[in-house]
């Protein structure tokens, strides 16, 4: 009996798992679950082979081809990073963000917590300084060796070039003079031929010089991998030193509690001295104390001015895309529903849809920046911005006009899919369902909310899913233009940096953007499946 119970219980878990898999459209997991339950193992293994192993293999192939091809493709502006370089860049990005996090933490630490940490950090700093010195030396060595070897390579050519230049200069002069005297005795045709030959000779000589120069330039431009690694090492050491020294600073005098303690001490001293002070000084000191109190309040409310890090930018981008998506949906669904309900309204709206739908985010953004700027002339004091800053959770995002403009751009570019789908969904409600409404004599609202909307929800959600996808694509471009803190800005900053690892960091972003987009799509699939019913549009 209990055995049977257990069996039904495990069956139920299996059923539940399969349902979840179906809901989230993670079909490739289905054979895994079935295999665990020992259901037709051979079939399941074949399925796993097809739906799990093949994609993984394909991805590995892609990485392999990339790794093999990347080192062969170089431009003057940079080189295509290999997968390992990209993964290094990923680590660098993470390190930067971790360091900023720990600095922020250090700013807020209490006296008891920070003192041991400070000692530790100072010891680390000392050690890091020595390694940094060693790294500096290593760079100097590598560069010296590089210069020496290049010099060896170039010396001969540059010597040749020098002699060639001087002999060429002399010979040209002598030949030219000889030619000039000779020309007096020759016919004009012959003269022309002679001069042509001379010119030919000259250009041959300059070509020769040019090729020598090019050889030199090529040798000099060669990147020495040893120098490269030494420089990378040096950079990482120097950054460590820089981080540790500012970390120590934050742990000591720039720490919030230390600052407060300093102010308190000052106030106390002033209060003490006030007792002995005469009337005139008393006024001054009382005033000073009040100022200090004021400052204390400000310090108390202060936070560490943290540099933006990629994780934070990702969160802000996601928030921005959802803000835009929500705005877009709030606009698109009612209009789409009205279009579906009334063909007159549809006729009125169609030209706008046709006109605005193809407009690129690059056009919307500057326009919206101006419009938002018009509504929010002074973000510091504007009620909306203040409210958004003080709001829980989203206050962290520091929503500003650039954020709003980006979100609105997302909305303007993405709402069309939802709008068109909503119109289609409402217009194509099953006639039978409408007859039910007629028989029941449902009023307009009841008909709308009980029959029409539920019936068109699957299509509306299908549209929203497309919208979110479009929005995510558009957002990166919008942030890039608006300088709104987010993934787009990260990419633009990296592009602007033009450092040797910038290209690799942009590759990291490719994967981040793709991954987030995938997650967003999955979320929408789940929603779409939740509102779907038999006979409605199938989720892909």
């Amino acid at each position: 009996m209990s055995d049977e119970n257990r069996r039904t219980a495990t069956e139920r878990i299996k059923h539940f798992l399969l349902q979840v898999i179906d809901l989230t459209a993670l079909g490739f997991l289905e054979p895994v679950v079935r295999l665990i339950y020992g259901e037709e193992p051979r079939v399941q293994i074949r399925k796993i082979g097809r739906f799990v192993a093949v994609p993984i293999l394909a991805f590995l192939c892609f990485v392999g081809i990339w790794a093999a091809w990347a080192p062969h493709h170089k431009t003057k502006a940079g080189e295509v990073p290999t997968p390992s370089v990209v993964s290094e860049a990923y680590t660098t990005i993470l390190t930067f963000s971790e360091r900023e996090d720990s600095k922020e933490e250090a700013y807020l630490l209490s006296e008891a917590e920070r003192v041991p940490l400070l000692q530790q950090a100072e010891a680390q700093l000392l050690k890091a300084r020595t390694t940094a010195q060693a790294a500096d030396e290593a760079v100097a060595h590598a560069q010296e060796a590089d210069t020496a070897s290049k010099k060896q390579l170039t010396e001969r050519i540059s010597e040749q070039l020098k002699t060639h230049k001087s002999t060429y200069k002399q010979e040209r002069k002598t030949r030219e003079n000889a030619l000039k005297t000779e020309l007096g005795t020759l016919s004009s045709n012959e003269s022309i031929a002679r001069v042509a030959a001379f010119r030919e000779w000259k250009s041959k000589q300059t070509r020769l010089q040019k090729s020598m120069k090019e050889d030199l330039a090529r040798i000099r431009a060669q990147v020495n991998p040893k120098v490269q690694t030494a420089l990378a090492q040096q950079t990482s050491c120097a950054e460590e030193v820089q981080y540790l020294s500012s970390y120590c600073d934050i742990l000591s005098k720039s720490n919030k509690e230390s600052k407060l303690a300093a102010i308190d001490a000052e106030i106390l001293a002033l209060q003490n001295s006030m007792k002995q002070a005469d009337t005139k000084n008393r006024y001054k000191q009382a005033d000073k104390i009040l100022v200090l109190h004021e400052r204390r309040k400000k310090v108390e409310a202060s936070s560490y001015a943290k540099a933006s890090t990629l994780p934070m930018q990702i969160i802000r981008s996601i928030a921005c895309v959802f803000a835009g998506f929500l705005i877009g949906t709030v606009i698109a669904v009612p209009i789409g529903v009205c279009c579906g309900l009334s063909s007159t309204f549809m006729a009125a709206v169609t030209p706008f849809i046709a006109l605005f739908k193809p407009v690129s985010p690059i056009v919307w953004l500057p326009i919206l920046l101006i419009i938002v700027g018009g509504f929010i002339p002074d973000p510091e004091t504007h009620w909306l911005i203040q409210w958004l800053w003080d709001a829980p959770l989203i206050g962290e995002l520091k929503i500003n006009p650039a954020f709003l403009a980006s979100a609105l751009t997302v909305a303007m570019c993405s709402l069309w899919a939802t709008m068109v789908n909503a119109a289609l969904g409402v217009a194509s409600v099953d006639e039978d369902h409408l007859n039910v409404a007629k028989v029941l004599r449902l009023g307009f609202c009841a008909r709308l909310f009980k029959i029409i909307l539920p019936s068109s929800l699957p299509l509306i959600f299908a549209g929203m899913r497309i919208s979110l996808g479009v929005g995510w694509m558009v957002l990166i471009a919008a942030e890039l233009l608006a300088s709104s803190e987010g993934i787009g800005k990260f990419v633009w900053d990296q592009f602007n940096n033009g450092a040797s690892d910038s290209f690799a960091k942009m590759f990291v972003v490719v994967f981040v953007v793709g991954f987030v987009g995938l997650i967003l799509d999955r979320i929408m699939i789940i929603f779409q499946r939740l509102v779907s019913f038999e006979g409605s549009v199938a989720a892909i």
Binding site: K76, A238, S254, R295, K489, W492, D493, N496, S502
Partner: protein, 453 residues
Amino acid sequence: MLSSLLRHTAIICASATFCLPLHTAETEQLELEKSELKFGFIKLTDCAPLVIAKEKGFFSDEGLSVEVVAQSNWKILLDNVISGELDGAHMLSGQPIAATIGIGTKAHIVTAYTMDLNGNAITVSNSVWSRMQEADESLDTETPPHPISAQSLRPVVDEYLENGEKLQMGMVFPVSTHNYELRYWLASSGIHPGMYSASDVGGRTSAEVELSVTPPPMMPATLEAGNIQGYCVGEPWNQKAVSTSIGVPVVTNYDIWKNNPEKIFGVSAAWAEENPQTHLAVVKALIRAGQWLDATDTQGTLINRSEAARILSGSNYVGADFDIIKNSMTGFFYFQKTDKRAMPEFNVFFDHFCTYPWYSDGVWFLTQMRRWGQITEAKPASWYAETAQKVYRPDVYREAAKLLLAEGFITEEDIPWDTDGYKAPTKEFIDGILYDGHDPLGYLSKHTIGHKE
């Protein structure tokens, strides 16, 4: 002789003040209206004072918590300062003036701090450089004699014109120092860089060389793509061209105008009005940052520049590779891979009373705007002075300096206490024409190309 001696002592004093104050002097915090600030910058090494003031704790000494945020271009940066999104920013010297008189976006912007002198160079593409070498043999060595005038470019320009094309060059913004420097360099050799007018805001009327706007970080890529044949930009974008072998810097703006003002720290007039004490505190911190950047040891070696280059190479600041930023920041400049020259004054952040907001600087930019037609009608000399006084705020600077002097961070001779705001007339231009800020109209009339009044 005497002046060099004086300078020497000044250096000693500066370095002494640098070493000591950390322990002895302390800043007197002001009654700040606002303590959490956000400043914008463009990824160029001359944003250094802002970054250093943050990273070396000069802002926090004043009780300020400052965020420094990279902006994608000069227009967005200015818009953000106007909208209040940014409290202040690293700006082109021409920007506050242009904004105040209404060239481009109109808004009253003021400055109480000049961030640096010099720091730009003009780079040409490899092919233009080899043609210049063909035309002028003296350039055909690994270390050609400097300064190279635009005369050497003349044959190339003519060649283009003969083919019915025009040489294209990039600069960073219509009212940027780069635009005026590039025009000055070309015009000083008789090459017409084009005039602005009410109907030609691109500034290409009667141009022999056409100039167009490209954001600084895009310069090397645009040059390599062949859209432009040369550009004038700040660092690290000239050194980047050398290290990636896509172009050759031919002249620095130090040669075009010795110790010319480059960037300023700009805030909106409304902000300055509302936050006078905060403004003061910011200027104090920036003066100290400039001083730190130009600190030297007894041999005259810049001691902090390597550290500054390291800080600037952080990906949230300038972000370029350290060894590229290091070149110009530590007083060297590569004209070619084989041509490394000492240029101790390539970037000046404090010496020569650099940080003082000089009226005469403002007047010079106004003369250039008039010369090239951005100011469409002739103005009286008094207008130049009045406009400069609207934008430049030496009063704030002096008050900040006074406080720093009292706190022991700077010495008497660091600040030109009794100036009338005009630098001494100078002839140190590539064409040797005398500039006197008191006489803008006379200065305009001395040039052959451009408006003369």
